[in-house]
Amino acid sequence: MQLDQVPVGRTVVVRSVHPPTLRSQALRLGIGVGARLEVVRRLRGGPVVVRSTAGQLAVGKELAQGIEVEAL
């Protein structure tokens, strides 16, 4: 499943982050393989808001589509 399809309220574990250009930045901000993310909100056609150990992050749609996750 991709991060942009996760229903609000669900907690997921990141399996992979695809766009290589963004992978480093995502890791620095707390989104890496194995990170637990709780989907707090999804804006229609827009970013997904997630909560991780590092705090709340808004993840742009294109990036969210590139983040493969697994339900807990």
């Binding site: 963004l22 890791l27 992050l57 993840v59």
Partner: protein, 604 residues
Amino acid sequence: MPVVLVGNPNVGKSVVFRALTGRYVEVSNFPGTTVGIRRARAAGLAVWDSPGVYGLSRFTDEERVTVEAVRQADLIVNVVDARHLARDLFLTLQLKSLALPMVVLLNRMDEVRAAGDFLDAPGLERALGVPVIKAAAVRGEGIPELLQCLQAGAVKPPPAPPFWEDLPPAVQRRSPVDRLLWWEEDEELSERLQTAPPAGNREAEYVKRRQEADALASRFYRRGDGGYGRWQLQLDGVLLHPVWGWAVLVAVLGAVYQLLGVEVANRLVGWLEALLRQTWVPWVQAALSPLLAPGSLGAELLTGRYGLLTMTVTYLVALLLPLITGFECLLAVLEDTGYLPRLATLLDRFFLRLGLNGRSVIPLILGFGCVTMATLTTRILEGHRERTIASVLLAWTIPCSAQVGVITGLLAGLGARWALAYAAVILSLFILVGTALDRALPGRPTPLLLDLPPLSWPRAANLWDKVRTKVGGFLLEAGPLFALGSLTVAMAHWSGALGSVETALGPFFTRFLHLPGEAAPAFLLGFIRRDFGAVGLYQAGLSPVQILTGAVTITLFVPCIASTLVLLRERGVRQGMEIWLGSIAIALLCGAAVARVAEWIAGA
């Protein structure tokens, strides 16, 4: 050898720097305020402040600057936002693998306490193996302890990272910074040293570091019950709601317009300008009249209509100062409450169509205050592509508050229809230009990845501190540019060039824009002060169609001289000139089109 402050963006490095050295630094709450390295001395130590970065590499200009600062460092002070421990520890762990003497300063401990959370600093110190100091730099807490620690000179470097043993000899000879950069696949170094690290190294290190940071944070940071209250969660839901979010945005914009556009830009500025015109200007003219012969160049430059002591002073004190202060106050409130990142999230999908992401909302909103300041702020955007698009949109389509004030006044006399027509033309151009640039420029917009700090009440002391330093810094930076602008006009006025412009360009204006020739100098004056251009239109006795044409043309026409200089500096001379000349072309073309279409509609 200096002590270098390193940390993520927006963790309070500049506040720490100021608390340490007592030196004035521009402080802000969005990333990218410190672009160069700032240096000062504190208690016999050289202290450098570096741009905020999320990691040590050379992906962006900020990171390059920070890497170079760290290369020179004798000792690193890693400033950490204690509220964002997991995020910030990534950089901490990366810095630690340089094996340079290092101190971790846990800033914003006051906010951790206020949220009812608990951070086990001694535990973290033992786990990291470097000194950890608790601080709240805005209140001066922890700064004496930090100074003491620095002066004792007893900070030992952390142990060498394991990867040092796997380095080839060519890399072994390099500095710790180069070793780390090379190991994490820095392309420049691999090329220069003719040897590359194992593929996937960076990824592996980053994943390991992220996991370690998360583990440390969950071990030593305990969230209390007070942290994220119910009202915060509910309000967060409202701000990002597809309907209510927009309602809040409209309300905020309405309040901003009322406060700035009406109360400050019209009333306060009008009152201050009149006050200065009646007191300061005659006083300085009288005081200097024995020294300057009337009509001489000196009199014209210093105390004439466009003089340094008359126009520049009036402009800076009566117009820019209140406008920028008002704007910065509002922006600081929006920032400190955490509203701006939410706005960026809400607007992201629309900005993507213009080749930008939600983050650009900050410079674009600032543009309605002062385009010069906004162009400086495009530094916070991720790449050249985004910065270019934002700079073009600012230079061409965003009217600054000085201009909005006068244009509102111009159009107000004509009725709502004309004001709407003006807004529609400018908004369509904004969308058209953005979309066209998105299509034309190679690459794609960077997807949004934005930290959403918890919503909070702004603190008056923070606001005051921020507004004061930013306004002061801006006036220092832009004041000379505005003075230069006045000098140019004063020279043009004195030499009679202004008058000849009218005779030379007048016929062209009449034929092309259907405006009277007297409007021509207004455009030149608009280069010095954008609202001057619009004021020029008041006097010419124009028809409604001509006023609309003039307002549109003057909005699109070249930005003022200060923004032009900033534009040239930020975007480079070549691209800056392209944007500048482009604004003349688009202003004249759109003006001509508006004139003809409006005449046709009015005629029909």
